[in-house]
Amino acid sequence: MLLPQLLLVLGAFVVFGADLIWRDRNWLPYLALLGLAVALGATLYLLLGVDLPGEPILGGMLAVDSFALFFQIVAVLTGGLVILSAVDYMQERTPYRAEFYSLLLIACLAITLVAAGTDLVMIYIAIELLSITSYILTGYLREDRKSTEAAIKYFLYGAMASAAMLYGMSLLYGVTGATSLGAIAASLGAADASLRWLVFPALVFVLAGFGFKIAAVPFHQWSPDAYEGAPTPITAFLSVGSKAAGFAVLVRVLITALPDFRLDWVAVLSAISMATMTVGNLVALTQRNIKRMLAYSSIAHAGYILIGLVCWDLGRSAGRFTGINGVLIYLLAYLFTNLGAFVVVIAFEQATGSNRIEDYAGLARSSPALAGAMLVFLFSLTGIPGTGGFIGKLFVFGAAIQVQFYALAIVGIINSVIAAFYYLNVVRYMFFETGPGEAPALNPSPALKVTLAVTTVMTLVVGLYVQPFIELVQGAARLLSG
């Protein structure tokens, strides 16, 4: 049952070990990819070929359910695409690459554990594992002052957030006397509850920790700096993998442990959702660095995804736009789209050393394929039909209309229009402006080309032939709502 996780650990150690005995380090990333591929195989085997245990395993610590397996797939895909996009980037910047790839594998492992955790202790440890590997990866380029600064900021905010989260968890434990999510729900459901009033503060503290991971307002301040300073492949990883882990744990904890306090967390989260969308989009408007712009855009997307969670439909799940499906399908579409956008950023940074949006001027003329792919990603982020981003938005807005949260839906669509402006600003530079003189054609490395091809095709596939993905997320979400 834990085969994928074990394989990831094994992969991490093999990469370490190979570094010691092998001179030629250029093969390390592919070794790590092999580890991920095997883990993906094991996950698919569990998903399709095995009767999953109904109960959490390891003394109630971890669930091996389709929800957890879905996030294993997300984690492994993210890891794989990030490694592919990092091959050349890291080769030029640091000699210590084995640790980088092993840490990435461990970060993927951490995501799978976060998504599977059914006990507060397990969840806390898994989140910490993810955070600590992320801090190191963010500051991986020691010579680069921005990278170091980003890591410090990320770490300080992260430490605060995790302290708050731990405090909230301890309050929950104090009220219920249990750390397992199921037991907490049972205990809160029981009639006697003189301490029930403590649940709300506990909820707020726990949400601070999770909100930090998904970069929701007001716990988002770390992300623009961390995103800008981190090595770009790690930025991509943080914006997709880390965020997915945050949503996994948010969904599982709120729905399995605190269903009775639904009104409380729906109220808090809808406020957070609106604030996150609006702040993220408005601040993104003024950004001139593409990594910072994507950071704020990623904050805004957390807001859209939260709509799905807020509009989780208790009891009335006869409808087809259930919010949790929306969360998962949005994450899936966002994975390919955002990773793809970052791959273009990496390719551009590799060739020109710049991350300024102005410098993208004339890209459509010099490298039409790269600009075309970026166009697809930007329109997917905007939510134009034909791309995955539209399907995600369709689901979450559909969920909002279904449960009649019209205000959320309206704030959401207004934000989509605002967001179009800054995404199109990049399109404008790439296609409408001409650069100073004849820009040389960028020639991305083969690994980047593969990543780009995969992400572009998948962004379009999720947009045009979404049915199999819907079935996948329905399987994943059924367990939680049932």
């Binding site: 087809r320 369709l394 807005f397 179009a420 399109v427 409408f432 049915q467």
Partner: protein, 514 residues
């Protein structure tokens, strides 16, 4: 299983676009030829569709229905009736002519240009043949992207501003429509346009129905565009490349009007008639569009901007006809007469969509033709061109007269029908709207005919304004582009039944169903 003619019409341009991508960039002539040849496929099929629908325009023909996203009830549904068939034909005709004309005028980034234009053509066909909301919405928005890029890359001086304005306005409207679509879905349980319309969602709940109505209204009225949502139009039309303007004015504006006829009127008859008669917001906006649009035209000195504003004015007739048809539903009086007038008004509105597409498409081609020579569109720079370019003068006269509604040309009938229907139902608005016809004649005769063509040709002024541009009459390809449009104007002018028969059948069926 029958031959999926609508799918072939819709997706042939997509196939063409992919083929264009495969041709090497250097091989520009091959790209041009391929695109033109590809565009003939939907054109020929559109004639077949038109002829088939002719027999029974009140029904859906060539219906195709497949699962697309079964979990969400989203289907791949297509069909055409008497309202959409002329629109499909219009789209095919204007696209083919645009491809042909662009082959001689577009020299920069030819590959991208044709790729985007083919995608745009697919999007337009898709909107007119879709019978499923999500499917409709997908095409609706997909068409937005290539037009945005066409304006931004190949447009005039202020193209960047115009492109983003166009995109944001339309996007704002469409997302509002998306929410309305979702609302209707949860009310009726289907994304099928026809079934949802038949179910009259929110029939007992006026506030919610009004909310959904305004959602759709925003989406379509921005596209039409109706005053006060029209401000994107002059910028987009003026800055777009010639063929971009032709398609914008000729087809894209009709998408909005088509949405009103296909979706809003059948689905929300009560709300629509409320806002058309009891609280007549929509006819008020329509007459403001007509009169204000025409007055603004008279104040323009940029020929292209003038024609852009004339679209605002002319699309106002469509909205007026629609309002009259809706208002007839709540009016008391002779039901027979009301129905006849409502059908008449709706026929006028939908005929105006067709004729305005042909006429304004032609006008934008003509502006492009003079701009190619003079590199200016300033009316003050022209004068006395009639003697220099008589052929161009002749074509412009015919098109201009068609635009101002001269009997014997296409524009006359649509205006006649609109006003004939409207006078019976909401006479006050017909009276105000008629003023627009007068102003239209004024700006066409005074601004275009007089300033551009009449008087003495002043060589010195011309040289100064155009930096010694050479003034030649129309070339053969320009004539080939214009002649089909002129032929349609004359044909519809003398024998309107050729279009009206289709529209009348479909509109009668539609209004009887309410």
């Amino acid at each position: 299983m029958n031959f999926p003619i609508l799918s072939v019409i819709t997706f042939t341009p997509l196939v063409g676009a992919v083929l264009v991508l495969l041709i090497p960039r250097k091989n520009e002539d091959a790209i041009r030829r391929l695109s033109i040849i590809v565009s003939f496929v939907p054109l020929i099929l559109a004639f077949i569709v038109y002829a088939t629908v002719w027999r029974n325009p009140g029904e859906m023909h060539f219906v195709e229905e497949y699962h697309w996203i079964p979990t969400l009830d989203v289907y791949y549904r297509m069909g055409v009736d008497g309202i959409s068939a002329p629109m499909v034909l219009l789209t095919a005709l204007l696209s083919t002519l645009s491809f042909f004309y662009s082959a001689f005028t577009i020299k920069d980034r030819v590959k991208e240009y044709y790729f985007l234009f083919l995608l745009l053509e697919m999007g337009m066909f898709g909107v007119f043949v879709s019978l499923d909301f999500i499917f409709f919405y997908v095409f609706w928005e997909i068409g937005l992207v290539p037009m945005y890029l066409l304006i931004g890359v190949w447009g005039g001086e202020r193209r960047i501003y115009a492109a983003i304005k166009f995109f944001l306005y339309t996007l704002a409207g469409s997302v509002a429509m998306l929410l309305a679509i979702l609302g209707v879905y949860f009310q009726t349980g289907t994304f099928s346009i026809l079934e949802a319309a038949a179910a009259h969602p929110f029939a007992g709940n006026f506030p919610l129905a009004a909310l959904a109505f305004w959602g759709f209204f925003l989406g379509f009225a921005i596209k039409v565009p109706s005053f006060p949502f029209h401000t994107w139009l002059p910028d987009a039309h003026t800055e777009a490349p010639t063929c971009g303007s032709v398609i914008l004015a000729g087809v894209l504006l009709k998408l909005g009007a088509y949405g009103f006829i296909r979706i809003v009127l059948p689905m929300f008859p009560q709300v629509f008639s409320w806002y058309a008669y009891n609280v007549p917001i929509i006819p008020i906006l329509a007459v403001i569009s007509i009169v204000y649009g025409a007055l603004v035209c008279m104040a323009q000195w940029d020929l292209k901007r003038l024609i852009a504003y004339s679209s605002v004015s002319h699309m106002g007739y469509v909205m007026l006809g629609l309002s009259a048809a809706a208002a007839s539903l709540v009016q008391r009086g002779d039901p027979e007469g009301l129905l006849t007038s409502a059908v008449m008004a709706l026929n006028g509105a939908s005929l105006q969509m067709f004729t305005h597409g042909i006429i304004t498409g032609g006008l934008f081609f003509l502006v492009g033709i003079i701009y190619e020579r003079a590199h200016t569109r300033d009316l003050k720079a022209f004068g006395g061109l009639a003697s220099k370019v008589p052929y161009y003068y002749g074509i412009m006269m015919v098109t201009g007269f068609a635009s101002l509604g001269l009997p014997g040309l296409a524009g006359f009938w649509s205006e006649l029908f609109v006003f004939r229907g409207t006078f019976y139902i909401i006479p006050i608005f017909a009276c105000i709207g008629v003023a627009g016809v007068v102003f239209t004649a004024a700006y066409i005769l005074w601004k275009i005919v007089q300033y551009v063509f009449l008087g003495e040709f002043d060589q010195a002024k011309w040289d100064q304004a155009t930096h010694h541009a050479k003034l030649t009459d129309m070339t053969w390809w320009e004539k080939v582009t214009m002649w089909p449009l002129v032929a349609v104007m004359v044909l519809v002018g003398f024998y309107p039944t050729i279009v009206v028969a289709l529209l009348n059948g479909a509109n009668t069926a539609l209004l009887k169903g309410l």
